[in-house]
């Protein structure tokens, strides 16, 4: 059975302005604590469209079992970050900028899983072609 990864963004509208605080909580389930090698949580932007993908990490945290009190990384973990001034979310003609919060789970047997939740930064109007 696949482990369950959950990531929740606090604001249900998922729309933020630069300088706002983004708060998230993530949790892992349906897996043995001893099978988890590390969990990485990040807040990042990436590009989509015609060009090759670019990516920029704004917030990053890597936790290994030694970082948890009882070595168990499964319980709910909260993290927060103040969002930057740029780049803002954008849906252009051939360039798009997307923001998301992402959790990546590394298992002992070398496998890794990830899950992400998109959100919107800023109020740039989409381009209509």
């Amino acid at each position: 059975m696949e482990p369950l990864l959950s990531l929740q963004i606090d604001d249900p509208h998922r729309t933020y302005q630069p300088g706002d605080e983004l708060e998230c909580e993530c949790q892992v389930d349906a897996i043995d604590a001893s099978d988890i090698q590390a969990i990485e949580t990040s807040v990042l932007w990436y590009t989509e469209g015609k060009g090759d993908e670019d990516l920029g990490v704004h917030y990053f945290e890597r936790r290994v079992p030694n970082d948890a009190e009882d070595g168990d990384l499964r319980p709910m973990h909260r993290f927060a970050t103040v969002l930057p001034n740029s780049p803002l979310s954008y849906s252009g003609g051939i360039v798009k900028v997307r923001w998301c919060a992402r959790v990546r789970l590394f298992l002992r047997r070398g496998k890794e899983l990830f899950f992400e939740q998109p959100f919107h930064l800023g109020a740039v109007a989409p381009i209509r072609i």
Partner: protein, 313 residues
């Protein structure tokens, strides 16, 4: 590969010295020790590459990007980066605001026109003219001496035609670069922001008539992508608005054409953006189509920052 080459060669050199010791080659200088130093450097450089590859294979894309960002946070490095920490992925405006204007606050630099076409036209023009001249002199001499060389004469005909084309192309390109005098573009403030206004001043020198002279504010997306072994770049204009139009103007030498205008940057537009393969660029484009001859288009890059409501400035 470098690591393997260095390791094998170093082992061979050391093992051969152990099996057949020759004390005279142990002296410093060209020989044994130089080989050891060179091969050891191969091992170190190659080993570093192997470790880096192994690290990248084991680390997630987010972790690698976070490490790069951490390195960019070091003061010495961050000052050399193309964008500031406060406005990530927006190019710095130092090159755009280091020249004060005469009428308004900043004088914007123009984006350089590519001169490779003019250089190529000049080379072809000079080379072809030299060859054609020599061939024509020989052909004429033969004809004057009543010993015409018809093969050379026939060879000279397409050469002369090609030379005419080269001369025409050279003067057209030269005209594009020199016919229109310098354009001066000044702006009341920089960077620009959505929902704000700014004043512009443009001056055009030269000696020509223009049925229409326009200034437009343009936003262009640029995407670079790999296609097979090629790297291609595609651009697309996503916003363009005319901010100044003057019709039927005549510019005289020593009396440049000058014009002021005000413009509003609309809300909800994307800010300037620059990443590895993608960009959003803003620029002013000054265009003029003369009655005859090549048209004029000069661009003045400008930065648009986000309209931050509660961001840190």
């Amino acid at each position: 590969m470098l690591f393997l080459l260095g390791a094998v060669a170093l082992t061979t050199v050391i093992v051969s010295q152990i099996l057949n010791p020759t004390p005279e080659v142990l002296r410093p200088g060209f020989g044994f020790w130089l080989m050891v130093v060179v091969m050891a450097s191969f091992v170190l450089l190659g080993g570093g590459g192997v470790m880096l590859t192994a690290f990248q294979a084991g680390a997630s894309i987010e972790r690698r990007s976070a490490l790069v960002r951490q390195a960019a946070g070091i003061d010495l490095i961050s000052e050399a980066l193309p964008s500031s920490q406060q406005h990530p992925n927006i190019p710095r405006d130092a090159d755009l605001t280091n020249s004060p204007g005469v009428t308004l606050v900043f004088r914007l630099p123009t984006a350089q026109m590519p001169v490779w076409r003019l250089t190529l036209a000049t080379l072809v023009f000079l080379l072809l003219t030299a060859v054609t001249s020599v061939v024509c002199v020989i052909v004429v001499n033969h004809h004057l001496a009543q010993t015409p060389d018809w093969f050379l004469t026939l060879f000279a005909v397409p050469l002369v035609i090609a030379n005419f084309w080269a001369v025409k192309y050279f003067f057209t390109e030269l005209g594009v670069h020199t016919r229109h005098g310098p354009t001066c573009f000044e702006i009341s403030h920089h960077p620009l922001r959505p929902n704000s206004e700014c004043e512009i001043f443009v001056s055009q020198a030269g000696r020509f008539s223009l049925p229409a002279f326009t200034v437009a504010l343009v936003c262009e997306e640029e995407a670079t992508y790999s296609q097979g072994t090629d790297i291609r770049t595609e651009t697309r204009v996503v916003y363009e608005t005319e901010v100044l139009r003057q019709e039927d103007i005549r510019i005289e030498a020593g009396t440049p054409f000058e014009a002021h205008s005000r413009l509003s940057i609309p809300g909800g537009v994307m800010h300037s953006f620059q990443s590895g393969h993608n960009a959003v660029r803003w620029k002013f484009v000054v265009r003029g189509t003369p009655v005859s001859g090549p048209s004029m288009a000069r661009t003045f890059p400008v930065l648009v920052y986000p309209d931050n409501q509660n961001g840190q400035e």
